[in-house]
């Protein structure tokens, strides 16, 4: 394994590069956020404007909208790097690819997942969910979107060379994300009912750790297959 100083330095460079690129391509960061708000708006329009009714499914709506928005953002996480040859450099660089990809996914979550999490209290309010529930919403979404970033990263690495791979990515990742949805939405529901949401939140945390420990390895394997061929 290469000297830790070299690897940490490389990872820091990756994160800094991602954030700089994000600053320049501002719209790529804001589009998933706008999509989140649009999708959330669909539900009251499709059902009822009554907050009392919306509240009963609010947790689920917040979560489904966040899932779909995150997936949308993840579709292009690796695309430009593969297309301009940067990813090939990474594969050949001698640094452990899993760590570099981990750094990239962390930066990507900060740019796309974190904004969703921060906006979610406003979305929750729009669906009639009281302020007492917001901490649970924020926590569950933080864990959930971060886990989804890894799952989506694996899917994105597998489909990066596929034409029009965005639907395929969703088809691959959404079934794997269903447990996240179950526990995440349930944590909000339990909090709304005045009960402790500790159970589902702990399960979310467990999945978070599982994803982040094994996920980069799968991402690295998938990326090598896509890039080296």
């Amino acid at each position: 394994m290469s000297e830790p100083a070299g690897l940490i330095g490389a990872m820091r460079l990756v994160v800094r590069r991602e954030l700089t690129l994000a600053w320049r391509r501002w719209d790529e960061v804001t589009q998933p956020l706008i999509f989140y708000l649009v999708v959330t708006t669909l539900f009251p329009l499709a059902t009822t404007p009554e907050l009392a009714v919306l509240r009963t499914v609010g947790g689920g709506v917040v979560w489904v909208a966040a899932l779909l928005s995150s997936l949308l953002a993840l579709e292009s996480v690796f695309r430009s790097d593969v297309e301009d040859g940067t990813m090939e450099q990474w594969v050949l660089s001698g640094q452990p690819l899993a760590w570099l990809l981990l750094a990239k996914v962390v930066a990507h979550w900060v740019m796309t997942g974190l904004p969703l999490v921060l906006v979610s209290p406003a979305v929750a309010a729009a669906l009639g969910l009281p302020g007492s529930v917001w901490p649970v919403i924020v926590t569950s979404l933080a864990l959930g979107t971060a886990t989804l970033s890894v799952l989506g990263g694996i899917g994105a690495a597998l489909t990066v060379g596929v034409r029009r791979g965005s639907v395929l990515l969703s088809l691959l990742v959404l079934p794997l994300a269903m447990p996240l949805l179950v526990f995440g939405a349930r944590s909000v529901e339990q909090s709304l009912a005045g009960q402790s949401a500790a159970g589902p939140l702990q399960l979310l945390a467990a999945m978070f750790f599982l994803a982040w420990s094994l996920g980069p390895l799968a991402m690295s394997a998938a990326m090598r297959i896509s890039v080296e061929g």
Partner: protein, 242 residues
């Protein structure tokens, strides 16, 4: 033993072994399934609560079991192919997928048909059916990923990664769906439980399960032969085949 396994990786050798194995599995499957059908439809007594309707169990449960079994086998074969770079293992995984998806579809369809007289609706979000549905999505995703690559080698390896990730997720999905169904438990919704088990009712189940396993073995032989042929370049050994 290692020489035997190594030889198994050679396509002509594998093909010949499958050719000799297949008829045994095929005929055994036919006999066992017919026997199971006789036991299940005729000999087993009617259930106290569900009457003759419970006989659907004998085609539903084996299909559900096989759908899970085949997925795990597919993931194992894919892992072997990925780690030890054995083409035959990749071919086996590819051969498994459509069959597993068929079993999953059968489990869902027979489960749905069974549900209508029992609960009055064509679909319920019970633990077993929901898990089977998600499993179907996993199969379809696997097959979709495979077909999106022109390069067969890349298709093999990419789908292998997906299968491994999927098989790790299967217990998590199963557990989360179980947990989810126990939360909102109206009294009328129960699992597609096996009826109160008396031995005469269990016997046809085991027979049908054995029959389905033999059938899958035969099917895998024939599909694997097809995969081997599709992937084979030099075909001089084909002259000897009937």
């Amino acid at each position: 033993m290692w020489t035997w396994i190594h030889k198994l990786g050679s396509p002509p050798h594998a093909f010949r072994i499958l050719e000799r194995l297949a008829p045994w599995l095929g005929w055994a499957a036919l006999i066992v399934i017919l026997e199971g059908a006789y036991w299940g439809l005729v000999r087993a007594p009617a259930d106290y609560q569900q009457g003759e309707g419970f006989r659907i169990l004998y085609v539903h449960a084996p299909a559900a079991w096989m759908s899970l079994f085949v997925y795990v086998l597919m993931a194992l074969a894919a892992a072997v192919g990925l780690i030890w770079r054995i083409k035959l293992a990749h071919a086996a995984a590819a051969a498994c997928a459509p069959v597993g998806a068929s079993f999953t579809f059968l489990a869902l369809a027979t489960g749905s048909i069974w549900g209508k007289p029992m609960w009055g609706t064509w679909w319920v979000w019970d633990a077993r059916l929901t898990s089977e549905l998600i499993l179907l999505f996993l199969y379809l995703g696997y097959m979709a990923l495979r077909s999106s690559f022109d390069d067969r080698d890349r298709a093999d390896r990419a789908s292998a990664v997906l299968a491994i990730v999927g098989v790790i997720n299967v217990p998590i999905i199963h557990y989360s769906v179980e947990w989810w169904t126990t939360l909102h438990q109206p009294a009328s919704v129960t699992r597609l439980a096996k009826p109160a088990i008396a031995l005469p009712m269990l016997v046809p189940l085991f027979i049908m399960l054995a029959g389905y396993q033999l059938y899958f073995g035969w099917l895998l032989c024939r599909r694997l032969q097809g995969e081997i042929l599709r992937r084979e370049r030099s075909a001089g050994w084909l002259k000897e085949i009937g």
